[in-house]
Symmetry: C2
Subunit: 204 residues, 2 copies
DNA sequence: TGGTCAACCGACCACTTAGTCGGTTTTTTT
DNA sequence: AAAAAAACCGACTAAGTGGTCGGTTGACCA
């Protein structure tokens, strides 16, 4: 326990800086040395803790990226009674976080999925798994929303879930370096309208 | 005119192969040599025609990427009387093309925007410009749709336009290597539902 | 005090990268 | 056919790249 403290601390420092730079510059465009330089650590330290650059990245995905997505996108919705309100609030909050971050490079998970799509099957799998967890959670919440009378019966929960995720990923791409404030606001208006159309009360 | 024929032919061969590989593997993960190897051309030939890798990529964006987006996403909608039907058909066709392409790496424009976001301002600008042309065209068509009685007056055309683009970009990311058939189908169902909600006939 | 070992160092290796340049081939012009 | 211009070749450079490895440090224990 106590013994592993230093080990964990260093690994965590590397992972944090690694995620920062991979997110900022992309995986293939970020070298191990880039990361180590900013931490005043050496190659030896890196390869003492991680087997390879890929192994390092996987560890980041499985620890930090998972947590980020979970905290920001899944937890705020999971099991909530009224899915419509929960999703609205969650997305609104997520976009606001992105807007207020002056250095925004897009949605972490979305960026990585794009970068590895068709280029690295193994890493793609880990990333897609996170997406799937998110999707399943959304579907479950939406289904529960049906039985609780918040969502119309005819709604295809899986369709709605992937549509929501896709639209969010897309808007986060466009929000970088644009007038993200306006884009985010407009996006939320449309999402609200869309969500209305799947809500129980507005059944045709 | 005639003089430039060989020049144009070689440049075009390079650009075509360049776009193919940049799209497949990403810009930073594709070397000039990768491209030249497949064309049986040399470094000399490349730097005779292009100033740098970046200059080369910009020329690809301004010629081929622009045209791709225009042909597939803008032209089929531009100026059409009924925007709702036009957008539906256009997106359906675009997704079908993606599905039937066994080697799909996502939406070309979306991938590049993601890769260069926050990494290369100049290139980002050229990519964003294409997005803007697309957006403006959508807005114009939607506005015309209002006066022609296809779109409800209260609709925010700009919001709808960026929402449509964002959702399309997002779903194209998810469709890679997944069960893209199902995803695409589900996506279209949701888009149709959403479009219904902005159509004139269904005004609340 | 001396030994042990996890944690870390940094020179080094084989390889790839974008870009250069003197020279050769091919095509066009005269 | 000769000269001129355009197109192309490929060895080379300098700066990285991921990864290795023999060696050092310093905390901890006996």
């Amino acid at each position: 326990m106590d013994k592993n403290l230093k080990r964990m601390a260093t690994m965590h420092r590397m992972q944090t800086k690694g995620l920062e730079l991979f997110y900022k510059k992309g995986y293939y465009n970020t070298s191990i040395d880039d990361i180590l330089k900013e931490l005043d650590l050496s190659k030896g330290a890196f390869y003492y803790h991680f087997q390879s650059k890929e192994d390092f990245f996987v560890s980041i995905v499985q620890n930090m990226v998972v947590r980020k997505v979970y905290n920001l996108m899944i937890e705020p919705i999971e099991g909530k009674a009224d899915p419509v309100t929960a999703i609205e609030r969650c997305f609104e909050n997520a976009l606001a976080t992105a807007e207020h971050n002056e250095l925004d490079y897009g949605f972490v998970l979305g960026n990585f999925i794009t970068e590895f799509n068709g280029r690295n099957q193994e890493i793609s799998k880990y990333l897609k798994d996170i997406y799937k967890v998110w999707e399943v959670n959304l579907v479950t919440t939406l289904q529960k929303g049906k039985t609780d009378g918040f969502i119309a019966r005819h709604v295809d929960s899986e369709g709605v879930a992937s549509f929501l995720i896709a639209s969010y990923m897309g808007i986060r791409v466009l929000m970088v370096e644009g007038n993200s404030r306006m884009l985010g606001y407009n996006y939320m208006q449309q999402i609200k309208q869309y969500l209305k159309s799947i809500a129980e009360t507005q059944l045709v």
